[in-house]
């Protein structure tokens, strides 16, 4: 049973009229899952500053008590890349050298953007208890803010990658601009999955314990620790099921192999991103009015 809030006849006079702070509200139970989408989106947009402020303060407070402070934003990804480099070099006795390391870094950094969006996003609603109990606002802002936080963590890694790109002697040219739309698609996909898991987490608290393992296996099933072309034929179907495969393969093609991404892969990746975003978003929004009762 889902009960919720219906807004009737909003007063157009209010500057902040968006269903959460209009002049006249009527709250009634209703069973249909979704609120009117357009006013909802407007309310989200009006509060976009909240999303940025929340991720900025989260970021600032996360390294508040450490010696290196904000430097961790750089140290973390460096250590991460180093650990996986050791792992891959030693375990697979691969001798990839600098170009492979560049591929590894590019893939790892963007994958960690995805996985921290999802892991933090999943906790965002359950962890936002007091704010949710005391203020009426569109709850999607919470998982979306986790994605923004992950993006802010991702930004400094771009600089690290740029250095590696130069060291590996990889070409620089307009083809690199393809990285922007590819990243945008990964971000859309990450937002969708974050919203899905954030809502699911309210009902199954175990999810946050599973998630780190899910994302780790997901990493192993993605063309990050290896090139997509190296995957043996018998594992191809598994790779094909991975929604991140087309996007990460294009990402590596553009950054590390100086290739135009294939249109097929891009379309495939975009389809996954949109499906995840719409499905995750609708699931979240249809459930969000129940969150206050469930926390």
């Amino acid at each position: 049973m889902s009960a919720g809030v219906i807004k009737e006849a909003p007063a157009p006079s209010s500057a902040r009229d968006d269903g959460f702070s209009s002049e006249r509200h009527v709250y009634r139970p209703h069973r249909a899952g979704l609120p009117p989408i357009l006013p909802y989106v407007r309310a989200v947009w009006r509060r976009r500053q909240f999303t940025f402020e929340l991720s900025r303060t989260t970021l600032r407070s996360s390294h508040f008590n450490t010696v290196f402070g904000q430097l961790w934003l750089v140290i973390n990804p460096l250590l991460l890349a180093f650990v996986y480099f050791l792992l891959v070099e030693i375990l697979s006795r691969r001798n990839g050298g600098a170009p492979f390391f560049a591929h590894l870094m590019a893939g790892l950094f963007v994958f960690y953007f995805f996985s921290s969006s999802v892991n933090q996003g999943a906790k965002s609603v359950v962890g936002g208890g007091r704010l949710i109990l005391n203020t009426a606002f569109p709850r999607t802002l919470l998982p979306l803010s986790s994605v923004v936080t992950a993006f802010m963590r991702f930004l400094p890694t771009l600089a690290i990658y740029a250095v590696m790109h130069a060291i590996a002697g990889l070409p620089v040219g307009p083809h690199l601009l393809w990285a922007i739309p590819i990243f945008a698609m990964i971000a859309i996909f990450a937002s969708g999955v974050a919203m899905l898991f954030a809502a699911a987490q309210v009902y199954f608290r175990d999810l946050s314990s599973f998630l780190p393992y899910v994302t780790r296996i997901w990493l192993y099933a993605s063309p990050v620790l290896y090139y997509a072309e190296e995957v043996p034929e018998r594992f191809r179907p598994i790779l094909a099921l991975n929604p991140l495969y087309p996007l990460l393969a294009s990402w590596s093609d553009v950054l590390n192999q100086a290739q135009q991404p294939s249109a097929g892969l891009l379309a495939w990746g975009l389809a996954w991103a949109l499906v995840a975003f719409v499905a995750g978003g609708l699931f979240f929004i249809s459930r969000e009015r129940e969150f206050a009762v469930r926390l």
Partner: protein, 275 residues
């Protein structure tokens, strides 16, 4: 004077005509049911185990049952009742945070909530950051907030504590900041959930004055409190909730009298004092 609706049938016509002109909050036949699992945190394992035993996972708690009342503009409504009577649930429903399970709530005007020390949702952030985040979530713009921030900080009188993490605050400071935020959000309707009890005597005086000021501007206030003295002093009407039902709705003095008689404590100093 809040009038208990004689007609229990909540009509859902969208026309504003059936609401008396001077009512700012109208609650009709409101019921709220919490659905909780037995466990505080529902986990997969316990769910599977219960499924196997064929038990129902959901337990229903009826927090409010068929409550109806109206609050006119400019009124101060006192809400009294024992712990767990449904006071906070009622306030959250009026604020649009909890959806009603049945019935209808109609609210005219912008609502600002001060619910059980509401601003400090993240104790690791400073008072300033909490004020900004709370304000942005409530839909204020950065400019509006910058305008109001000094007033808020000034009224709360926290000095340099505004830039310290809220975990360093005493509960009185918490309450002062929460109250200050709520009254400066320019609310048409102010919902206050037992926050006044934590301020010291001077701040309490100051907040009483602020609330009178708001009432004079025809703002509506709903005050949840165990301090029956405040109900008498501030409120123009009062409601007594008992186990989710509306037990009484009358003049503050009468409600306080009946409630204290019910509590069987008599009008001793302890009850009238803000505990």
């Amino acid at each position: 004077m809040p009038s208990v609706s004689d007609d229990p049938r909540a009509e859902d016509s969208a026309a504003s005509g059936h609401m008396t002109d001077d009512a700012s909050i109208k609650v009709e036949n409101l019921s709220v049911t919490y659905r909780t699992s037995y466990e505080k945190a529902p986990t997969l394992k316990s769910m599977l185990m219960r499924k196997r035993r064929g038990e129902r996972t959901v337990q229903e708690i009826e927090a409010l049952r068929e409550v109806s009342f109206e609050v006119p503009h400019g009124a101060v409504l006192g809400l009294v009742g024992a712990n767990g009577a449904g006071k906070s649930t009622l306030v959250r429903t009026v604020a649009g945070i909890l959806p009603p399970t049945e019935g209808r709530v109609e609210v005219h005007g912008r609502v600002s909530t001060l619910l059980a020390l509401g601003v400090g949702f993240n104790r690791n952030l400073t008072g300033r950051q909490n004020v900004v985040l709370g304000g942005l979530a409530a839909g204020l713009s950065r400019d509006e907030l910058a305008e109001k921030y000094d007033e808020i900080a000034g009224f709360a009188e926290l000095g340099e504590f505004m830039d310290l993490p809220m975990r360093t605050y005493s509960s009185g400071m918490y309450g002062r900041l929460a109250f200050s935020v709520a009254v400066h959000m320019d609310p048409d309707i102010l919902l206050i959930d037992e926050a006044l009890s934590v301020g010291d005597a001077r701040f309490k005086r100051k907040s009483f004055e602020k609330m009178r000021e708001l009432c004079a501007e025809a703002r509506t206030i709903v005050l949840v409190t165990h301090a029956l003295g405040s109900v008498r002093e501030l409120c123009s009407e009062a409601i007594w909730l008992h186990k989710g039902r509306l037990a009484m709705c009358d003049e503050p003095a009468k409600v306080v009298e009946a409630y204290t008689r019910f509590l069987d404590v008599g009008e001793s100093a302890e009850v009238l004092e803000d505990v």
